[in-house]
């Protein structure tokens, strides 16, 4: 049977509230449990957990609100995160390990170590970031699920 690899099997979206550190991580947990129920490989689950958690923390730390769009097709997971927030001035710089624009308050809370985007990069197969300063950021990540 011919399988259409672009046909989404599942589309689901989630909202993340900026500044809500108590519930930070809930969306990535939900996505993780869906992937477990689907029977994705441990490796895909591990990578997706880390990438979505980092993306969620970015929304919590730097945006007013954000939206996660999860799409699962037969060969990949695509997660698009769109936020309304401060945006990223220099994406290339933000991709460097250890680079952070975080306020000292956020650093004192144990976040903003400058590892977020590099960690997302490490745990995804495709990553596209676009941002408008003062408006928000869009992070589109893809993880291939077929070995």
């Amino acid at each position: 049977m011919q399988q259409n690899y672009d046909e989404p099997l599942l589309k689901q979206d989630f909202t993340v509230q900026g500044g809500d550190f108590i519930h930070a991580g809930e969306v990535s947990s939900k996505i993780k449990s869906i992937l477990k129920e689907i029977g994705m490989s441990h490796e895909v689950i591990r990578r997706a957990s880390i990438a979505t958690y980092e993306a969620e923390m970015n929304v919590v730390c730097y945006a007013q609100r954000g939206k996660f769009y999860l799409t699962i097709t037969p060969d990949r997971l695509s997660i698009i995160v769109e936020d309304e927030g401060q945006g990223i001035e220099n994406i290339a710089l933000a991709m460097k390990e250890g680079y952070s624009t975080s306020s000292s308050a956020i650093k004192e809370m144990g976040f903003g170590a400058g590892m977020g985007l590099p960690n997302i990069k490490k745990n995804t197969d495709e990553l596209l970031i676009s941002s408008v300063l003062g408006e928000g950021t869009r992070v589109a990540m893809v993880i291939f699920t077929k070995p």
Binding site: G39, R46, E54
Partner: protein
């Protein structure tokens, strides 16, 4: 017995279906069917939380009894470190070991020695740590199962070092050689604060041959042991270990002497689940060692321990001070026993089955479940026999329940059908019906 051994069973004639267990179970492994608790074997981690909350004592730990001793030519009692802290401060570890011997065991083994060996090897292991992931202790068998079932991708973090009770059990191999008999004729019997240790009698975590041959619960032996201690005229010196042994009875008791940075101890299944989720999402970096316990308060909080775990903890801390936290055994002895610590089987994972036969089917089921959830009241009343509306929705889509098994859905449907009937009944008979009616 299913795919894996479980150390807990429901005594159906005592169970009145009160749901306390279903609501408490941290892995949602209990349903109520035919008015009785039913344990879902693929989800149960044998933590024993259900034993604590059952008002009718209908959840029975499958532990052994003194009858087990008759199966062997020679028996060795191995107390859990928590046993040392179950009585008043006047009852010392040496009294306890003598008392156990008085109960009919041929030999008693001071678990503290095995704990010292364990602690020494663990320290080496953690100091050679180079991998970028924390090691997770395998001291608590319920935690090992939790990881195998709910966090299969973390199985690789589990330390493959045999726990002190297994090290102690392996003494039977030496004893068999000395006596010129088969190790099978020797019974190593663990005195346990929880049923989970029975897993290791039946399906050991990291050995092909179980080092332990039986387990008797502390609660079963408590009174007998006390009487036995009181009868003893003169005590043999059976206890020679340091405070490390008894320290292992409380979470984090032995972490300080490991001399490593960033080791943490977490107790209680729900807290453990939280920390494992953090680990999974990459939030935990630069932590070297996670000592995880299913019971709040560690082994002192075991469902088969007798004394209040907080009171027992005072005694543990006192014993740790009195006995000191230095190794009492020599480096040679550690080396001699080293082989008993290695695992000869790889730890495997037993993840919960995906919802469907493949990704497409599973996603279809997820969507079906979501649409069922939307129609449910969401108050998790439990009358359907499932702990949450979500779990019930899953039962529905898997064909284990029908939507009208929800009392609220039944009520809705009944009202609708009565209304339909009423509308029909109110219809004017044709002979009297006005035109256009």
């Amino acid at each position: 017995m299913g795919e894996y051994f479980h150390a807990i069973e429901v005594e159906t004639d005592k169970c009145c279906g009160s749901m306390n267990c279903m609501r408490t179970c941290p892995t949602e492994a209990i349903r109520i069917r035919e008015g009785k608790a039913l344990i879902l074997e693929d989800r149960c981690i044998d933590c024993g939380d259900c034993i604590r909350v059952c008002p009718n004592r209908a959840i029975r730990p499958i532990t052994g009894s003194f009858e087990d001793l008759k199966r062997f030519r020679y028996t060795i009692a191995i107390p859990s470190p928590s046993l040392y802290a179950q009585y008043g401060i006047g009852v010392t570890p040496n009294h306890i070991l003598n008392g156990l011997k008085g109960l009919g065991f041929n030999e008693v083994y001071d678990i503290g020695k095995a704990c010292e060996v364990y602690s020494a090897v663990l320290k080496e292991h953690l100091h050679n740590y180079s991998d970028n992931k924390p090691f997770i202790s395998t001291l608590c068998p319920a935690i090992v199962r939790l990881i195998q079932i709910n966090f299969p991708e973390l199985v690789g973090n589990l330390l493959s070092i045999e726990a002190p009770r297994g090290i102690a059990g392996s003494v039977k191999i030496t004893r068999a050689k000395e006596m010129g008999i088969s190790p099978k004729e020797i019974g190593a019997i663990y005195i346990t604060p929880c049923p989970a240790k029975m897993i290791e009698v039946n399906q050991p975590i990291c050995k092909t041959d179980p080092p332990l041959d039986g387990a008797i619960s502390i609660s079963d032996i408590y009174g007998l042991l006390f009487t036995s201690i009181r009868k003893i005229q003169s005590f043999e010196p059976l206890h020679s270990s340091s405070g490390i042994g008894v320290g292992l009875a409380i979470p984090g008791g032995c972490i300080a002497r490991l001399d490593i940075e960033n080791a943490i101890a977490v107790d209680g299944v729900k807290n453990v689940i939280n920390i494992l989720e953090d680990l999974e999402r990459g939030k935990i970096s630069n932590v070297t060692y996670l000592e995880l316990w299913a019971c709040p308060g560690g082994c002192l909080g075991g469902p088969l321990a007798v004394d209040n775990p907080y009171l027992a903890k005072i005694k543990v801390v006192k014993l740790m001070q009195q006995l000191g936290m230095e190794l009492n055994i020599s480096a040679d002895e550690v080396d001699r026993m080293r082989r008993y610590l290695s695992c000869d089987v790889a730890l495997s994972s037993h993840p919960i089955k995906p919802l469907g036969k493949d990704a497409v089917d599973a996603i279809k089921k997820i969507k079906e479940r979501e649409s069922v959830i939307e129609t449910l009241p969401g108050i998790n009343c439990g009358a359907c026999g499932a702990p949450t509306c979500k779990a019930f929705a899953e039962d529905v889509i898997q064909g284990r329940a029908e939507v009208i098994d929800c009392v609220f859905k039944l009520r809705e449907e009944t009202i609708e059908s009565i209304q339909r009937g009423l509308t029909k009944a109110q219809r004017t008979p044709l002979a009297f019906r006005k035109r256009g009616e």
